[in-house]
Each structure stands twice: as C-alpha cells, then as structure tokens.
C-alpha cells in the first residue's frame, strides 16, 4: 500500500513538471491541445495526491511501523481519530496535506473554467503548477511521508497529549486551507500579469477565493487561540509567538486585500495596488508556512526542524523576485482610472484601512524576524516580546475599529456635510455617551474606555444600516422579520459583511476586557481552606488520585461561591500520562474552568505535596467568551456573504421595466 502512495507522489511530481511546461508552451505557441492536456494534468495530480493521502492514512490507522512517519507520529495506544489526524501532525504529512489541498483547489479552478481557453488561464495554471512543483518536490525528495525505517519499530512515538484535543485536531487543517486559498488569487494575478490581460477578470475570480481563504484563516486563528487558552494553562490565548504571528500576517494582508478588491470592482481604482497586495498576502502565507515548518525562529511551538528551511527561503526569494519583476515589466498597462476626489470619502476610508492593516502586518513581521535580523546585522540576538507588539498594534487597531464604523456609512467620492451629519450623528453620540457612562462607572483605563466607545460606535453604525434597510422594505408592506430576512438575502455581500463587522466588534470587546480587567492570585491551601479572588470565594475540598487507561491523575476539587451562594464545582488536575509510545512528554495540566458571559474563572493546580496541601493559580478573566462568540458571528456573516445568489431574474425584470418607463436614450 505504501508503495502505491510513494509511486503516486513521484508520478505527481513528473506530471507537475509537465503541466508547468505544457501550460507555458500553450500560451507561447497559442495551442488549445497543450492547454487541455495541462488541464488534464492538473486533475491527474489531484487524483494522484488523493491516492497518496489515502495510502498514508491507511498506514497510520493500521500502525505500519515500517514507515518512519507512522513511527514518529502514532503509537499503539493512540485513539483512532488521532491516527487519522496524524496525517498533518508531522513535517512530511503536513507538506503532503498542503500539496493535496493545493491540487484540489487547482483542479476546481480548472473545472470551473473548463470552457475558458485563453492565455490568461494558461498562465494561471503555470503559476499553480510552479507552486505545486515546489511542495511536491519537498515530499518526493526531501521529506517523504513514505520513507521506510531500516527496521520495523515495535512501538511508535505517539502524539503529545496536549495535542490530543478537538481544536488542535482541526486547527492546522483550517489554516492550511486558508494559506492555500490565498495561493489561488495569487495565481490569477500572475495569470493576468504574464498574459498581459490585466482587466477585471482576475479580480472577479479572486474575490470568491479570498473570502473563502479569509474565513478559514480567521477560524484557524481563533481555534488556535482557544486551544492555547484551554491547554497551555497560563490563562491567556495569544502570546505573539512566531508561529501565531505566522498565521496572523497573511490574515492582516488578506483583510486589506478583501476590502481593496471591493474598490476595484466598484471604482476601477487601485489596479497596481491590488496586484502588489495579493503578492504580499501570498508571500506572508508561504512565509508563515516556512516559519512554522523550519523552526528558524526558535519558538517553544516549533515541533519541526530540518533541512527544508533553506529550500523554503530560496522559494520565497524566487517568488518575490519573479512577481515584482513581472509587475515592473507590465507597469505601463497598469494605469489606474484615478477618480480620487476627496479625503472624506469611502474610497479614502478603504485606502486608510489598507494602509493600517499593512502597517500592522509589517509591525508583526518586523517583530517576528527581529532576532534573525539583529543577529545578522549586529551579531547579537535581540528579541522583542509581547510588550512591543501590544504597544505598537493597539493604537493602530483602535484607528481600524473607528474606520470599520466609518466605512460603511460614508458616501463614495465625496461626503457632503449633510451626509456626514445625517449618517454619523447617532453613532458618534452613542460612542460618546458610552465613554461618559464608563467614566461614571469608575473605569479609568484609557485604552479600555476608548476601545469600548469605538466598538459602541461601530455597533450603532451597523444597527443604523439594518434599521434603515428594514424600514425601507417594511414600507412596502413586509413585516419586520420578513423584511430583515429578505433584506439580508437580497444583499448578501453587504449585510453579510456588516454581520462580520459585528462579530469583530464583539471579539475586540472580549480582547479588551480580558486584557485590561484581569484578577490573578497565587495561593497555597490546605483542605477546607478558602480564598477570595475578585467576587468569587473558592473553597478547596481536597485532593484525589485516580487512574484510568490513559493517565494517573491528581485532581483538586473546589467549590465556587459568589458571596455565600454556591455556584458550581471545579476540578483542576495535574496528570501523568501513562507510557505512550516512547514519548517522555507525559505531564499534563488540566484547567478547572467556569465560563460565563461576564467572566471566566480559571484555576490551575500548580503544585501539591503529600500532606494534602495544594498550590493554585486562580485567574478571573473578564468577558473572554465574547471572543469565541464573536468568532461564531464572524463565521455566520462570512457564510452569508459567500452564499450563492438566486435573485438575478427579479433584478433583470425590474430594470428592464425601468428602462422602458424612463424613455431612456443610451449614453455610454
């Protein structure tokens, strides 16, 4: 079985080289047969990699310890589900996954465009093939998942217990779908540049893909944060770790691109800028994969270190050089129809949005590579930690929140005074009154007041949009609920986007609260002793040891009181996982967590002795749940935005009527 997998990988590499050559030739020689052959090649690669993946999963599930990858990532006591997800647990497997997802998306591009035979598509396929060749090369010749051991191992190394968790099981998958999803618009952009056909077609095709990729990147980031919160035990969810930053940078650039695409569609501006932006987004995606996979920036997260680092670096350099060269070459064709009129306009808001998102990406990038940069330039390795990132990104973030509220309401081209007053009076009043209320309540932290007020501002702008829309529709005789549903379904992109903004505001509220209003206490208790943290009183009921198949557990039982009323019980554990494969990483802490909308009570058992005394770290985190809830709202909004629209016929007939009734003469 493994042999079939191995052969599939080698064959897909050969086919990939062929597709690369054939697609270029089809454009240069202007031949349809070459293009169709290349298209078939793309589909073949997809099928071959599916076969390879199936073979690998089969070997993993059946614990074929003759394979190095299986021996490194599974063990006889590993549950079935984690044997399957072991497909992306290690270096070789996750590279295979990257290649597989890319091949599937490439095949989809080919299938959706099977009737298109233009130079543009030839070069789109060339780009997809070029990127695929790199990744398939890695899994064929450098980190082959089907590499055999010189012996058959008796037992595998197993999977680190902290990774055996639902969130960690899907988090890499969602991020990879995001990274690969960004590659497709990049291929469209390169197709446009290489063929010289730099009109709206590449943008039109890219919009759906970037939205799709963005959704998965967002979900992936939130899943990672949630996992860190639950499993790492320090009470936080984001540490500006290089691997976290690796996924954040493409998200930032991708968000900028998402918005900037809207301008090009509407206003035909920013053609050159959009090309630069997608090249950067793709760069960040590959760079992100590079950081995670090469361990070049030593991070506690880095589970992999090997020789693929230099190869990645070479590939990234090649991409950047090539993309910007061809952009330069086509510079004359990229004259934008600049209709920029006023600084108070939606165009302007979008441009500031882009500027700020890219600044943030740059700030994160700089902070992440700082150690390497400083070592290269000064010989000394210097780090910057969370304080740097927070200090620089928070101000930028606050301005972005403000823009998030301004953007949807401000008019295109030039906002008149009446437009500004009419649209912004209520939201500004909401924001200001929120500040006043907060100050009266005694909250003095400037960042918190500012952040909450801006979020209130944003939420009220979205509210106005929905309110007005519903009012217009219900004026035509629909009841409010029907009006709302129809409003959203007829304007999915607009209102889906607004829902996403609501979700983002909720997330920001959650992040602000859980960063500014945290109470922490470290305490040692004997049995039946209590401690007060914030508004909670916590009583330690005692330690208990127990065993199951997986672990030897020491559990601390606690009862939680608010005042004198018991509100729940919590268990915090410190466990030793039983011999799992060869792994010696077997200690694991399980947090006692009580989540409500208002706050999370987060208790970790840090130490204990044989006299029944135990040490705890107790944290009260305000409104953390808002982050996860906001994330679900974002996902909901994104799904609405991507939902296919069936309302074209109605639009057409209403417009045709209009044309007749107006006695309109054509003016172009």
């Amino acid at each position: 079985m493994a042999i079939a997998g191995s052969i599939s990988i080698f064959l897909s590499f050969v086919v990939c080289i062929y597709v690369l050559i054939a697609s270029v030739l089809s454009a240069r020689l202007n031949r349809r047969d070459l293009l169709n052959s290349a298209k078939n090649g793309v589909i073949s690669i997809c099928l071959l990699l599916i076969i390879a993946a199936i073979c690998l999963v089969n070997s993993l599930v059946n614990l074929d310890f003759s394979l190095k990858y299986v021996a490194l990532n599974t063990s006889t006591d590993l549950p079935l589900i984690y044997r399957v997800t072991a497909l992306w647990a290690g270096q070789a497997g996750s590279l295979l996954l990257w290649s597989l997802i890319l091949s599937i998306f490439s095949a989809l591009v080919v299938i959706f465009n099977r009737n298109n035979n233009t130079k543009f598509y030839s070069y789109v396929i060339t780009t997809l093939a070029a990127v695929s060749c790199f990744f398939i090369f890695l899994i064929a010749f450098v980190e082959n998942p089907f590499q055999k051991l010189p012996f058959i191992a008796d037992e595998g190394r197993g999977l680190n217990p902290i990774l055996q968790n639902g969130y960690m099981a899907i988090h890499p998958l969602t991020l990879y779908i995001g990274y690969v999803g960004v590659t497709i618009p990049f291929a469209f952009a390169m197709g446009a540049l290489l063929s010289g056909k730099i009109d709206d077609e590449w943008i039109k095709n890219s919009r759906k893909w970037i939205l799709f990729a963005w959704t998965f990147l967002s979900v992936g980031l939130l899943l990672g944060a949630r996992w860190a919160y639950l499993e790492l035990g320090w009470g936080g969810y984001w540490a500006w770790d290089p691997v976290e930053n690796a996924a954040f940078m493409p998200w930032l650039a991708g968000t900028a691109f998402l918005h900037s695409v809207m301008i090009q569609e509407r206003k035909k501006m920013l053609k050159k800028w959009n090309l630069i932006l997608i090249i950067l987004t793709f760069f960040f995606a590959i760079f992100g994969t590079f950081i995670t996979r090469s361990g070049i920036i030593s991070s506690v997260h880095s589970f992999a270190q090997s020789d693929i680092g230099p190869l990645f670096l070479g590939f990234i350099t090649l991409i950047l050089l090539f993309s910007f060269s061809i952009l330069w070459y086509r510079n004359d064709q990229l004259k934008s129809e600049d209709q920029f009129e006023s600084i108070l306009s939606r165009e302007s808001a979008f441009i500031f949005n882009n500027l700020l998102f890219l600044s943030m990406a740059f700030v994160v990038f700089l902070g992440t590579i700082f150690p390497i940069l400083s070592e290269a330039l000064t010989g000394e390795k210097i780090l910057v930690g969370p304080p740097y990132f927070n200090k620089v990104n928070v101000p930028i973030g606050l301005v972005l929140i403000f823009l998030m509220g301004v953007g949807p309401l401000i008019s295109w081209r030039k906002a008149s005074k009446e437009n500004l007053i009419k649209n912004f009076l209520f939201p500004i009043m909401t924001g200001v009154s929120t500040s006043i209320v907060l100050l009266i309540l005694g909250i003095r932290e400037a960042v918190a007041v500012l952040s909450y007020s801006l979020c209130a501002f944003v939420l009220s702008t979205v509210f106005i949009e929905f309110y007005r829309g519903v009012r217009v529709r219900s004026g035509r005789g629909e009841n409010y609920l029907l009006a709302l549903t129809r409003l959203v379904s007829k304007n999915k992109r607009r209102y889906g986007g607004y829902i996403i903004h609501i979700g983002v505001a909720l997330i920001v509220i959650g992040i602000t609260s859980s960063s500014v209003f945290v109470t922490q206490k470290e305490v040692t208790l004997s049995r039946n002793e209590t401690v007060e943290v914030g508004k909670y009183t916590i009583a330690f009921n005692g330690l208990q040891r127990y065993q199951n198949d997986a672990k030897n557990a020491t559990a601390a039982f606690l009862t939680i009181y608010k005042g004198s009323d018991p509100v729940g019980q919590l268990v915090a554990e410190k466990n030793i996982y039983k011999y799992e494969g060869n792994r010696e990483i077997n200690q694991e802490t399980e947090v006692g967590l009580r989540s409500t909308l208002m706050d999370d009570l987060y208790i970790t058992l840090t130490n204990f002795n044989n006299n029944g005394k135990a040490s705890f770290r107790i944290i009260v985190n305000t409104m953390v749940s808002w982050i996860w809830l906001g994330g679900m709202v974002v996902l909901f909004g994104a799904i609405i935005t991507m939902w296919p629209a069936p309302f074209k016929r109605r639009q057409e007939s209403s417009v045709r009527y209009n044309l007749g009734a107006d006695d309109h003469t054509a003016k172009v």
Binding site: S654, L659, H664
Partner: protein, 127 residues
C-alpha cells in the same frame, strides 16, 4: 498486486494527459487570439453571450445598490441621478448588444414581470 495497481495508475494518467492531442479541434488556437476578420462560429457567439450575461448581472447589481443606497438616504439626489444615468446607459448598450446576437425568443414568464412591475410601482409611489 500493488505493482499492477501502480502500473495501471501510470498508464491511466498518461492516457488522460495525451487524449487532448488526439481530439479534433475546430480551431487549435486559444480563444483570445481569434482575429476579428474570421466569422464567428455559433459556439464562440454563445461564449460571448455568456460573458455578457455576467457583465449584465454585475451592472444590475450596481443599479440595485445605487437604488438601495438612495432609498437609505446614503447618497444625495444629484449623485443618485448621475450614477443611475451612467449605469443605465451602460446597461442599455449591453442589452442591445445581447439582443443583436441572441436569436432565441425572450424567456421569463409574463407573470413574474407583471409582479415586479407592480412592486416597483408601489415602491415609487411610497417614496
């Protein structure tokens, strides 16, 4: 056993890739290289219609958006008139082009259009 499967996979892949070279094409050239002097085949015309339909839908979306924004009070009356005029013009031109090529009788049931006309009238009156 696996050897046979592997050989089969290799052969299947090769065949799949070679097939496009064996079919007869009306024109071996790529689409965007068609010269204007050549008479357009009906297949090419169909493709043009399809892409124009896409363009048309985009223009309709724009017009609906403009209408919508105006109803919400987001754009001034002047801007509304100007934008609407511009887009209506483009749409009219496009519809004319499509109708020229399109030899098929118009689709769309009369009832639906009547419906829309009534709704539109109501909207115009209530504003």
């Amino acid at each position: 056993m696996t050897l046979y499967i592997s050989v089969a996979i290799c052969i299947a892949t090769s065949v799949f890739i070679i097939i496009p070279f064996l079919i007869k094409y009306k024109s071996v050239r790529l689409d965007d290289s068609t010269h204007d002097q050549e008479p357009k085949s009906s297949i090419d015309l169909n493709k043009e219609i399809i892409s124009m339909q896409g363009e048309k839908n985009k223009l309709y979306s724009e017009l609906m958006d403009i209408e919508f924004d105006y109803n919400l009070g987001k754009i001034t009356e002047n801007d509304y008139k100007e934008l609407r005029s511009k887009y209506m013009g483009r749409t009219a031109e496009l519809l004319r082009k499509i109708d020229e090529i399109n030899i098929k009788p118009g689709s769309g049931t009369g009832d639906v259009i009547e419906d829309e006309i009534n709704k539109f009238k109501k909207n115009v009156n209530s504003n």
